[in-house]
Symmetry: C2
């Protein structure tokens, strides 16, 4: 499939971002929750989790699935790229929801240093169209 420097596939990316955005400190996500949010069955989700564990981005204890420090850093980086390109698309006149979808297709493929340069080029917005901060 398609990989980046960070070596994550599209669905691994989806899962990482889900864990980053949906986990609330004391309430790490559980497998069934991940599966249903990703619209796949638990064994499929487990397969993705397994790969993310192997790569060191995720750890699981007692059914609680959470990001490692490495996974947290990668998620932040992907989100920064995502919000940068989402902002670019929105500034260009692409409707917000399409901009988000489009950004999600490429955010895990683009080098974060290059994205930072693009961010500057598009006038350094502080937050994405949803209002989330671009630079963590």
């Amino acid at each position: 499939m398609t990989k980046s420097t960070n070596n994550v596939s599209k669905r691994e990316r989806d899962c990482l971002i889900l864990l980053k955005e949906e986990s609330r400190g004391d309430f790490p996500m559980r497998l069934h929750e991940i599966a249903s949010t990703m619209h796949i069955k638990p064994p499929s989700a487990l397969n993705i989790i397994r790969r993310l564990k192997t790569k060191g981005f995720v750890e699981a204890q007692d059914g609680m699935i959470k990001l490692t420090d490495l996974g947290d850093r990668l998620s932040k980086s992907i989100l920064m790229v995502h919000r940068t390109f989402e902002s670019l698309f929105c500034q260009s006149g692409v409707p917000e929801s399409r901009a988000c979808r489009e950004a999600g297709e490429i955010d895990f493929l683009i080098n974060s240093e290059n994205a930072m340069k693009v961010l500057k080029r598009i006038d350094n917005p502080a937050s994405c169209p949803h209002g989330k901060p671009i630079k963590a």
Copy 2:
């Protein structure tokens, strides 16, 4: 692998672009040429060609491999997106060769209408950093 609206994978994209850029009217490419340019063995290249044929982007006669009209249109569209993002990266300060590589990772994933909007946003350059026209 990763697919777009146009349903081509990364290597299918590479092959399409190669055919678009290297074919010279009377000299369509041959399998061995495609394979060696893509740094793969002929059977691997043939496999990609087979998929592109199935999808209607490529046709072969007497060992001559060329784009169909549909394939030509798709290649043009991908190149437009490529050059748009390449220009964006260059304008942002990313070195040309990196800009090209980065653009190549995403050009087949991005909707061309959205890319046209981005092109306008980045001041409508007529040509990419290599001097090739962006709008065919």
